[in-house]
C-alpha cells in the first residue's frame, strides 16, 4: 500500500512534467498546424543551456534562469523565422520532416558544445523530502507539479482572455479568415513558437532538477507524445489530464510489472499506450474529430 502511494505521487508529478512538454507541442499545433517532433531536443538544449549558465558561467540562479528564458525566446524566434516561415503552405509531410531535421541539428549542436553526456544542475529548489501519508516524496517533485499547474493556469487564462490568445485560437480555426480580419499571422506563428520554447525550457529545468541532464531527455520528449496522442492534439485540458494518466501508468506499471516482465518495461509503456490509443480512439480523449471533404 505504501508502495502504491509512492508510485502514485511520483507518477502524478512526472506526468505533470510530461504534460508540460506536451503543452509545448499543443501550443504550436493549435495555432500553426505544425507537428513539432523536436520536442525532446528543445528540452535537451535548454537544459544544457541552463547548465552552461549556472555551472559553467557560475551565474546566480535567478540570473541564470532569466538567461535561459531569454535564450528560449531567441531560439523560438529563430526557428520560426528561419525554418518554419518559408515552409508555410507545404504538405504536412514536409512540415514533420523539417522538425526532424531540426531535431537532428539540435542534437548535434548539443554534442558539439557539451560533449559530456551526463551532468547535474545545482539545487534550484529546496532539498529534502516531505512525508505524505506513509510515502516519502522529494520536494522537487512537488515544486515541479506546482509550477506546471501554475503555467497551465496562466496559459489557459492567456488563451481565453488575452487579445493575442484569442487571435491564436482564431488562427488555428481558420487562417484565411483571420488574415481577412487584419491579424498579423506571422507574428502569431512567431509567438506560438516562442511560447513553446519557453515551456520547453521550463520543463527542461524542472525535469533535469529531478533526474539530471542526460540524453534520456530526448526519449522523455517522445514519451510526451503519448500525452499528446492520448489527450488529443489540440486540447490543453487533454494535456493536463492525459499527462498524469501516462505518468501513473508508467510508474505503477513499472512498479508492479518489473518482476513479471523484466527491467526496462517503464520506458516501453508510453509507446504501447500510443499504439493502443491510435488503434482504438485515434483522436484521443479530448481531440477534435476531423471530418474530411474531398
Amino acid at each position: 500500500m505504501q508502495q502504491l502511494i509512492q508510485y502514485t505521487i511520483t507518477g502524478l508529478a512526472v506526468g505533470m512534467i510530461y504534460a508540460l512538454i506536451a503543452l509545448g507541442f499543443a501550443l504550436i499545433w493549435k495555432s500553426t498546424r505544425v507537428a513539432n517532433l523536436a520536442l525532446g531536443q528543445l528540452v535537451l538544449i535548454s537544459s544544457w543551456f541552463t547548465y552552461g549558465m549556472l555551472v559553467q558561467a557560475k551565474l546566480p540562479v535567478w540570473l541564470g534562469l532569466i538567461c535561459t528564458i531569454l535564450f528560449a525566446i531567441f531560439l523560438g524566434w529563430m526557428i520560426e523565422r528561419l525554418i518554419l516561415r518559408p515552409m508555410i503552405g507545404q504538405p504536412i509531410l514536409s512540415l514533420i520532416a523539417v522538425t526532424l531535421g531540426l531535431a537532428y541539428f539540435l542534437e548535434g549542436l548539443v554534442t558539439v558544445i557539451w560533449p559530456v553526456s551526463v551532468a547535474k544542475l545545482p539545487p534550484i529548489f529546496p532539498q529534502g523530502s516531505v512525508n505524505i501519508g506513509s510515502a516519502v516524496v522529494s520536494q522537487e517533485y512537488l515544486w515541479a507539479t506546482a509550477i506546471s499547474l501554475l503555467l497551465f493556469l496562466l496559459l489557459s487564462v492567456f488563451f481565453k482572455f488575452h487579445k493575442m490568445g484569442i487571435a491564436m485560437r482564431a488562427t488555428a480555426d481558420d487562417q484565411l479568415a483571420v488574415q481577412a480580419c487584419a491579424v498579423p499571422i506571422n507574428r502569431i506563428f512567431s509567438m506560438s513558437w516562442i511560447f513553446a520554447c519557453i515551456v520547453a525550457a521550463i520543463s527542461g529545468i524542472l525535469i533535469s532538477c529531478i533526474g539530471g541532464i542526460t540524453n534520456a531527455l530526448i526519449e522523455t520528449g517522445f514519451k510526451s507524445f503519448s500525452v499528446v496522442i492520448l489527450g488529443g492534439m489540440d486540447s490543453f485540458i487533454g494535456c493536463v489530464i492525459a499527462g498524469p494518466i501516462i505518468g501513473l501508468c508508467e510508474n505503477i506499471g513499472a512498479g508492479y510489472l518489473t518482476q513479471v516482465i523484466g527491467p526496462g518495461i517503464k520506458d516501453l509503456i508510453p509507446f504501447i499506450i500510443i499504439i493502443l490509443v491510435i488503434l482504438f480512439k485515434p483522436y484521443g480523449l479530448f481531440g477534435e474529430e476531423r471530418i474530411e471533404r474531398i
Binding site: L37, Q90, F105, G108, L109, V112, P115, I275, I278
Partner: protein, 350 residues
Amino acid sequence: MNLPCGIRNFSYDTDTAIIRTRTQWCIFILFLCVLISIPFFLSGFMVDIIVLIGITIIAIIGLNIMVGYCGQLSIGHAGFIAVGSYTTAILTNNFQINFFIALVASGIAAGIIGLLFGMPSLRVKGFYLAITTIAAQFIIIWILNHWTDVTHGSMGLAVAPASFGNTVFNSSTMQYYLVTSITALTVFFSTNLARSKIGRAFIAVRDNDLAAEVMGINVFSYKLLAFFLGCFFAGISGSLFAQWRGSITPEDFTFGQSILYIGILIIGGLGTSIGPIFGSLFIRLLEQFVILLAPTVEGTLSSLPTGFATGLSSMIFGLMMIIFLVFEPRGLAHRWNLFKASYRLWPFSY
C-alpha cells in the same frame, strides 16, 4: 516531353521502354561496365563505402515506396531494418539456414512486422501515423534489448558472411558483387513498380486518398501493400547489412538512423526512382568526408571538444535536411531532371 528531338513513339513497346535511344544504350552499357570493374581499380576501403551505399539504397527504396509513392510517413525505418538484420542473424546462427533463404525470410519477417504497425493506417494518417511508426521503432529496439535469450541484448550477435555452396562472400570484392547485384535488382523492381497499376494506385492514395477510394481503389489494402513492400526492402537491406558488418547490436538501429533515412530520401527526392540513389550517394559520401576531415580539423584546432566530429556530422546532416526542405523540396532528382532538360535543349534555352 522527355524525349530528344526527332524521336517519336510508333508503338506501345517503344513508348514504355525506359532506355530509348542509341546514346542512352551506350551510356547504360558503359555504366554497367564501370559498375562491374569498380573493384579492380578502387581500394578495399572505397569498395566498402560503395557496399554501404548499396545497402542504404535498398533501404531507401523501401522507404520511398512507403513515403514517396504511397504518402505514409514512416519514422521507424531503422526498426524494420533491425528486424531484418536480427532475423538473418538468428536464422543463420541458430538454424544453419543458407544465407539466401534467410535473406528472403528476413524481408518477409520485416514486412509482416511492418504490416502489424501499418494497421493503424486504416484509421489515421499524417502525424498520427508518424507517431505510430516512432512507437514501432522504440518497441522493436526495446524488444531487441530485453529479449536476451535470443538477441543477447546490447551485446549483439555475430553474423557470418554470406555463403552459397562453397563460395563465401568474405572479401570486399565479393561483398561488392553480392550487394550491387541485389541493389540493381531492387532498383529495377521499384522503377517498374512505380509505372505499374500498383504504383499509380499508390500515387493516387498519396495525392488524395478519399478521391482514390471513390475511384475504386481499395485504399486500405494498397496502404498495407505499401507498408509490406517498404518493410520488405528494409528487411533485405538489414539482412545484407548484418552479414556485411559481421556483428549487429541494437545500437546500429537507433532513432537517429530512422531520421537519417527520411533525410536521405528527402535530399534525394521523394517519389522518384532516381532519388534514393542520389540521396544515399550524397549523404554517405558527405559522412565519409566529415570522418576524413575531422582529424585534421581537430589536429589544427586542439581546443575543440572531443565530441566534435560526431556532433558536427549530425549538425551538417540536420542542416542539409532543413535546407533541402526549404529551398529544394523536390530534392536532387529534380535538379538532375532540370540538368537533363537543359542538356537536351542546348544550345537553345526553350
